[in-house]
């Protein structure tokens, strides 16, 4: 993709023809589009500062060779075979996605940024069926994305997981529906990632707040005047944008507009501090943001995106959290998500629930769902797990933008407890 600035306007042209003629043709088109928009541009691009720092980034262990196809096939087949533990297991899927990306950012100002990424995403899914019901258990449900090498598999406990999740699918098949009514909810990190993503990440995207996404992805209940004073959550809530954790899915040294990336608190002790907005949006809104202007690939223009958005660990152990719940439920692994276009009214579902009564874990229940309102939900955060409860997840399918873009995001979180949540099950 080539981007040109002419007067107040900016235009881009992306081409798969990398010959000199192809690139020149693209530059001509980008220039013409920039010129055509100069007098009707929403943004006066002359006023936007362009970063001037060069640099490089490489994913951890990206230089270490991975197994060849034969070894991968054997390894995946082993987990599939391990999941065949009962005649009620009707489908077993094992898969690993490996992506290597070379990215170069070059400007006529003399900047050059080279970034080399390697992503792995191991996946397992097992379906159990009997008596007209089907229950599915997965290893992360499309959320096991991370940067690195073969060690990513052990990080997600891949080896031996086939038999384990097959057993859990059978337990779900025999389990009662999740009961309805208010309960305290203990969300494990593989559900917390979705909770963070939908009800903190998207509402804090500055381009949404500025109205760019109102025709598709939506707006936000967060307004510009809330930063610095709005109580987003309880005092236990600390949320960071952190591109510096090398193994997390969306770590990088520079965003796709060339801004150098650093860790920042977005919410500290429950108070909203800064949005997810790249340099362009920051200057439009006159507010400090983060380096999160990102494109899904060479054929899409950068916009404000999540990257690594994490909840900082607290001090409570998992046992202490469970012991502190009188009438509650533990939920694992997201399976359904829906939220309104202002990122407020949400309803999320998990693969597996386990009731908690009088401080003790009880029976497993199937189809646990809960719903709430973002702007009040985080204020009911009553316990944040310690470092031992923390886990890191990532997904390649965060969708947004016109044209549409699916980008990789990472979310690390401890287990968390929320008080008095509206919980319910299947029909």
């Amino acid at each position: 993709m080539l981007t040109a600035w002419v007067g107040a306007g900016a235009g881009y042209a992306a081409t798969s023809d990398l010959s000199a003629a192809g690139l020149q043709g693209a530059l001509d088109v980008a220039t013409a589009r920039a010129r055509a928009s100069a007098e009707i541009s929403l943004i006066d691009h002359r006023s936007i500062t362009r970063p001037d720092k060069s640099g490089a980034y490489t994913s951890p262990n990206a230089d270490r060779a991975l197994p060849g196809p034969k070894e991968w096939i054997e390894r995946l087949a082993l987990e599939c075979a391990g999941a065949r533990i009962d005649s009620r297991i009707v489908e077993r899927i094992a898969r690993v996605c490996i992506t290597e990306t070379e990215q170069a950012y070059i400007t006529s100002d003399g900047v050059r940024i080279d970034q080399h990424f390697r992503f792995l995403m191991p996946e397992l899914s097992v379906a159990a069926h009997a008596n007209g019901d089907t229950q599915v258990r997965t290893l992360g449900n499309y959320a096991n994305l991370a940067q690195g090498g073969i060690e990513v598999l052990s990080r997600f406990h891949f080896d031996g997981a086939g038999a384990r999740i097959a057993d859990e699918a059978l337990q779900l098949l025999a389990a009662p529906n999740c009961p309805s009514g208010p309960r305290d909810v203990l969300l494990m990190p593989d559900q917390m990632m979705l909770q963070i993503h939908e009800s903190i990440g998207h509402p804090l995207e500055l381009d949404r707040i500025l109205g760019d996404e109102r025709n598709f992805a939506g707006s936000s209940f967060v307004k510009l005047d809330m930063f610095g004073e709005y109580r987003y959550g309880s005092e236990l809530l600390n949320v960071t944008f952190d591109p510096s954790l090398p193994e997390e899915a969306a770590s990088y040294a520079f965003d796709d507009d060339g801004a150098e990336a650093h860790k920042h608190y977005l919410i500290r002790a429950g108070i909203l501090e800064r949005p997810l907005g790249g340099l362009l949006s920051q200057q439009r809104a006159n507010i400090e943001g983060v380096a999160n202007s990102r494109a899904s690939s060479w054929n899409r223009a950068p916009i404000d995106r999540m990257a690594n958005l994490n909840i900082e660990p607290g001090s409570t152990s998992l046992d202490e959290m469970i012991a502190g719940i009188e009438h509650g439920i533990l939920m694992r692994t997201n399976t359904s998500w829906s939220i309104d276009d202002h990122r407020n009214k949400f309803q999320f579902g998990c693969e597996l629930g386990q009731l908690i009564e009088n401080g003790q874990l009880k029976e497993i229940v199937k189809q646990p769902n809960y719903r709430g309102i973002s702007s009040t939900f985080w204020r009911s955060l009553s316990a944040v797990g310690n470092e031992e409860t923390r886990a890191m997840f990532g997904t390649p399918v965060c969708g947004k933008g016109e044209p549409m873009q699916g980008v990789r995001v990472g979310h690390a979180s401890p287990a968390c407890v929320f008080r008095d949540v509206d919980v319910f099950g299947g029909a």
Binding site: T15, V29, A30, R35, A127, H129, D340, Q347, E402, P403
Partner: protein, 456 residues
């Protein structure tokens, strides 16, 4: 120099992907060895994109790209590779040869694929090539800026040429090429509520666009009334075709998949098993005759129009070749996803002009948003109302309503709660642009429902 002259000077060179793909097919055939079978598939586009916010240009650009997938089959083993291609044979053919060589080496380690099924013997030819009349992007941007004066206009234009090609070693050749556009926009009124409109097709008309903007603008006063906050409960409702599309789009993702049904994961499992039925007026068809999607798939089969639901009961599923072999079925040309790409629903007897009177008192729901499942085995869906959703009393629009969450089963909505269907199904072209502009869409009537359950 005027703007038009400047644009014309820098108009993207029109690429001849049709000719290029014929050369690719010949080159692949030349590189093929022994009894190997090679399938080549191309997805290419030259697209203009313009985003608007506040009636001004937020982003403007052009994407020219080609994606070539080579699938090498030798005996019962297969492997594939996808390359980004430039439409220049001299630049690409070295990489095509290299990709085939890598695939050939990879097959040495690959086990037999027990479910491999492709059409290795047919030699069919089909070609659809439609040229359109598209707006000049620079002129369009100026037109929108002019039309949007005084309006809070947020929108997105995507237009250009789309090509899809298929070639097999046995001589089958498929080509689908259209020039079309899809422009959707939202006019925001007070209180952050909006009316969404769209204009899509193959022949752009400035007058038609202007009329649509004017029509939406004339409806803006409807948003000015104080919005009603609804309590959870069951509400009589009319779902406009765009709202129905959200429900069927989510359900159809794997609901009509033969593979999903065989593994008991289909959201319509109980319907296909005959345990439940929709209202007898519900008829759904994967209608290739709509001409909005390529008539071939990547397994070498020509696509078929497939009747899915008749008289409210399941009569067919989408079967790709792999599922056919695994499950002992006959393939019907479905894509590997087994998701419909041209889903058509039969209309009923409710005329557009009679919708409000027939609704009488209830909710007019123009759009739904973020639909997902809350109970897959019972096809229970949840999602939000969005854009133009109004409270109607006595056949008259009273006020907009605050966004509400619904949670209800499609079996109920299209079963006991279905009162009438719109008389004229509306063609809704896909506006998906995930990585590339999509083909396909749906043709749906509106649904008048006795009730829908709102929960939050």
């Amino acid at each position: 120099m005027n703007w038009m002259a400047r644009y014309t000077e820098a108009a993207p060179k029109k690429l001849d992907w049709h000719c290029y793909f014929a050369l690719v097919a010949s080159e692949v055939e030349r590189l093929r060895q022994g009894d190997e079978c090679v399938f080549s598939s191309l997805a290419a586009e030259q697209s203009d994109f313009i985003r608007f916010n506040g009636g001004k240009v937020r982003q403007i650009g052009n994407v020219s790209q080609g994606k070539l997938t080579l699938r090498l089959i030798d005996g019962e083993r297969q492997a594939y590779s996808t390359l980004t291609v430039s439409c220049e044979p001299a630049a690409d053919f070295g990489r095509v040869a290299s990709a085939l060589k890598t695939l050939r080496e990879g097959l040495c380690d690959a086990p037999d694929d027990p479910h491999l099924m492709v059409d290795r013997s047919s030699s069919w030819t089909q070609s659809i090539r439609r040229t359109g009349t598209l707006p000049d992007p620079a002129a369009l941007a100026r037109t929108v800026a002019e039309r949007a004066k005084g309006l809070d206009f947020v929108g997105f234009y995507a237009g250009g040429s789309l090509s899809r090609g298929f070639a097999s070693s046995s001589g089958s050749r498929g080509w689908y090429e259209v020039e079309n556009f899809n422009f959707s926009w939202s006019l925001y009124g007070s209180g952050g509520r909006a009316i969404k409109s769209s204009y899509s097709g193959e022949s752009w008309d400035d007058g038609a666009f202007a009329a649509k903007v004017e029509l939406a603008s004339a409806r803006l006063p409807l948003l000015s009334a104080a919005p009603r906050a609804l309590a959870p409960g069951n509400y009589r409702a009319y779902l406009a075709p765009a709202a129905a599309q959200e429900l069927l789009g989510t359900t159809a993702w794997s609901g009509f998949s033969a593979r999903s049904q065989a593994s008991a994961r289909s959201e319509l499992y109980k319907l296909h098993a005959g345990e439940v039925a929709f209202d007898a007026r519900v008829e759904l068809t994967e209608d290739i005759e709509l001409g909005i999607t390529p008539g071939f798939n990547e397994d070498g089969y020509e696509r078929e129009t497939v009747s899915l639901i008749r008289g409210g009961r399941s009569v067919g599923q989408l079967v790709d070749a792999r599922s056919a072999r695994e499950c002992g079925l006959s393939p019907n040309g479905a894509p590997a996803s087994e998701s419909p790409t041209a889903l058509s629903m039969a209309g009923g007897d409710l005329a557009e002009g009679d919708v409000l009177a027939a609704l009488d008192t209830g909710l007019y729901i123009g759009n739904l948003w973020y639909v997902n499942f809350s109970d897959r085995m019972n096809c229970r869906l949840t999602g939000m109302t969005r854009f133009a959703t109004f409270l109607v009393e006595g056949g008259k629009v009273i006020a907009p309503v605050e966004a509400m969450r619904f949670d209800d089963s499609l079996y109920r909505l299209l079963g006991s709660e279905l009162e009438r269907l719109g008389i004229q199904p509306e063609l809704l072209l896909s506006d998906n642009t995930w990585g590339e502009r999509a083909t396909g869409g749906m043709k749906l009537p509106g649904w008048l429902l006795r009730s829908i359950a709102l929960t939050l």
